[in-house]
Symmetry: none
């Protein structure tokens, strides 16, 4: 009910104005019929009044055109340096967990003995894993393994 009133506010206002004007017409109609030459003035006044009313009504009813302008703003961001293991390559090469661990430490520059100490296994174990790793990666030496692994995103 209230929303209806708000929504059609202008129309109601027009209706009210019209009612008032019509009342004036009625009232002036009776009085001016008794006076000579007043008729033309009466009619002229009506014409002007209702023209003004039409103008006013139009201004109220018409909506402003909305024009949206999109401005693109480029923001430069630093490339995120976060490493993500290429699981696909890992799987396809068939590298085991332990082999990958050895590879990672190799890339850090540790010697075989240092890797063994780090992983709590013997030097022989590290050599075995290395050997198996090189075979799977089809490389001949650790520097090749590391270079290839980085290229393939297996290690960071």
């Amino acid at each position: 009910m209230y929303a209806f009133l708000i929504r059609h506010k202008t129309l109601l206002l027009y209706g009210l104005c019209l009612a008032v004007l019509l009342f004036l017409l009625k009232w002036l109609e009776v009085r001016l019929l008794l006076v000579d030459h007043a008729f033309e003035l009466y009619i002229g006044g009506i014409a002007v009044l209702f023209t003004a009313l039409g103008i006013w009504l139009t201004r109220k009813l018409t909506r402003p055109r909305v024009e949206t302008i999109v401005v693109e703003k480029e923001i430069y961001v630093q490339k995120e340096q976060s490493f993500q293991v290429n699981e696909q390559e890992l799987d396809s090469l068939g590298i085991s967990k332990r082999e990958l661990a050895v590879l990672g430490l190799m890339a850090e520059g540790l010697s075989n003995q240092e890797i063994a100490d780090r992983l709590f296994v013997s030097l022989n174990t590290v050599k075995t894993h290395s050997s198996n790793l090189f075979e799977k990666m089809e490389v001949k030496r650790r520097t090749q393994a590391v270079e290839k692994a980085k290229r393939m995103n297996i290690i960071p």
Copy 2:
């Protein structure tokens, strides 16, 4: 004169319409005064007519109101990551041209002999450069040298 007519075209048109309507008023005035209850219809018609005229005139005379809304759209652009040698570190370590060349090939996974072949020098020469390089970089083995060099942006 012609420009004046163009410019005030709408106004002139309104004036013409007004003249026509007033003539109609005059003419209808004579005829409708002789008929009972026709007076109200006459006046009502005038009201409606001039309201319409006002509306029409407004549409012609006034510019349409335009509301401009500016929307900023953010676009994220990644920065190009191209390798650049860290000359400062290079200088401070005192690594020679040849030593750097050996380091680069080392990082590519080449053996000493392969590096020698690539640079057209003997295996002994490569060993000498390596030895000097490790001393300057304070590392014990090639994997360490490569890891450190990449970290320091000496090699890509």
